[in-house]
Subunit: 328 residues, 2 copies
């Protein structure tokens, strides 16, 4: 390898970590592993880390940091159609994280444990001279063979997304001093969406047997749809005008149309992105009504391996500035 080779995050994983993977890791393509549980059950194992200054801001409240850590992992369980069992927690904390910080942090965990029906299984607590670094390994469970993977999308299937897109990325801009033209309420909504993901566990559970492929939007819509298409060996066409936006995001885009890039690639949405045969449309409407979570059809799967295109209302290609967040 020459010194100027520079692999991105996913190339690094493919080159250095995929060869180490067990069969249960599904080739590291699904961001989870499935291992055999008690009769008729599979455990879903998932780990995600968040770092101060990268995934959250130094002055984000400790309880919400804890909730974000737990919820980004729960979102992955939701995307498999799994229900939560428990989690292991690793905290690497600088000495400035005092007992008041810990009290708030654990209060956030307690709140979410009650809300999502999950409890702590163990952990490790170490000191660090660096930023707050938190890692969580979540255990979920699914009925044997019922986990929804990324690889079942087929040409002709619809593409759906839950909730709204772009809010979290726009919320980060608010925290960085941007979007002053929005109302107080709109700004607060966007910030809340940045700080507190909503793992769509109830919806995920209901989608077993209906969704043909699924993942959660964490890196960004286009990037994550790329992942789904790669795993399914298909392509996708996304209709820009169909993307679901909150009132705050709509107002932000009206003021600054360039912010549409945040909707396509801002990431941190933690919404479910999934595909289903067109015959499922009515069932999905009912399902959305039952769970109270909006489900929007945003495009379709096509027979064009790995290519994700975004088109406007006239069918013209929309330029995608950034496909999504990459750590490297």
């Amino acid at each position: 390898m020459t010194a100027d080779t520079k692999l991105d995050e996913f190339e690094r994983i493919a080159r250095y970590f995929a060869p180490l993977a067990a069969p249960e890791a599904l080739g590291l393509l699904d961001d989870v592993a499935l291992i055999e549980g008690p009769s008729g059950v599979q455990y879903v194992l998932k780990t995600d880390a968040i770092v101060e200054g990268v995934h959250f801001l130094p002055d984000d409240p400790a309880d919400q940091v804890a909730q974000k850590l737990l919820r980004v992992n729960l979102s992955d369980l939701a995307a498999k159609g799994a229900s939560p069992v428990g989690y292991l927690l690793t905290t690497a904390l600088p000495h400035r994280c005092d007992e008041l910080w810990l009290e708030r942090f654990s209060a956030g965990l307690a709140r979410d444990q009650a809300e999502f029906g999950i409890a702590l299984l163990g952990g490790d607590s170490v000191a660090t001279p660096g930023p707050i670094t938190l890692s969580l390994a979540a255990v979920g469970k699914v009925e044997q063979g019922k986990a929804i993977l990324r690889r079942g999308a087929q040409p002709g299937h619809d593409v759906f997304v839950s909730g709204t897109l772009g809010d979290a990325a726009l919320g980060l801009k608010v925290l960085q001093g941007g979007l002053a033209e929005l109302s107080e309420t709109e700004r607060a909504h966007l910030v809340d969406r940045y700080r507190l993901p909503r793992p769509r566990l109830a919806l995920g559970l209901e989608l077993a047997g209906t969704a043909s492929a699924m993942l959660d939007v964490s890196d960004g819509l286009v990037a994550d749809l790329d992942h789904l298409c790669a795993a399914s060996a298909v392509g996708a066409v996304v209709e820009a005008a169909a993307l679901p936006l909150s009132p705050g995001a709509t107002a932000a885009l009206a003021a600054e149309p360039g912010l549409f890039a945040s909707v396509l690639g801002g990431g941190d949405d933690y919404e479910l992105l999934f595909t289903a045969p067109t015959a499922s449309r009515i069932a999905l409407d009912r399902l959305a009504a039952n769970t109270g979570i909006a489900v929007t059809r945003i495009g379709r799967i096509v027979d064009a391996p790995r290519q994700v295109r975004v088109i406007d209302a006239q069918g013209r290609a929309v330029k995608v500035a950034s496909r999504g967040y990459r750590h490297f």
Copy 2:
């Protein structure tokens, strides 16, 4: 809580995290959780993190850092009498960790996967502006009800330790420029013990049904025996003269008797510390011979809750300067 209250690592865990624990977490007293697996099997879940500058040195070779990360977790599985199944890996890496670093890091993992029969189940790979921070969650398995816990020690039981004590702590001193009086071979042995723990998996497996309580020595002999005694509601008396030392450690102590503190509380030993009824002595001798791992009787359990005393050959109390490493 007043601002000047200062809890140590274990008090922090007891106050803020124990209330969050699931029943499967065994009160967070065993450093692992046990969850139901396929028929007749329980999974053992364990997580441990290591931080550059805290658990390893910035110029430690990347492959050995990877092996240390894996092995400190495997050591906890060994201490339960469990065998390895797989692991989740979280890497938070600064941008200076280039592809050469990753190549070495993953080569270290590959080597140990082959040696210990474990494979990667998944992970997360994030960037950090801070030090290298690595977290691993290991999954092991034991026969239902056969996990060796910390809480079975009873007055009259012997206390045993595998291998030798103090080598890793002395190896760190060598890397910091100390112990110049030792031979090249002795110094290399101690450094190797610091960098590469030996998880005693084969011995741990054999101890099921014999050991009444067990853990691995990571914080330090006295600190970890404290943990075992607390979980079992007993005390212990350790005979200083009985502690097993390598030739390098023996030479170091001959030159600087004060280094005995490293044997009692230096930590990073990753040896098995366990108790057993006196009737097991012959069985244990045979077991040590079969596995090729030395097992040394170092003391006995007494009816004095939570108290660990170290005595010299004349039965006089040996002062314990530091009971073991604490992060906070």
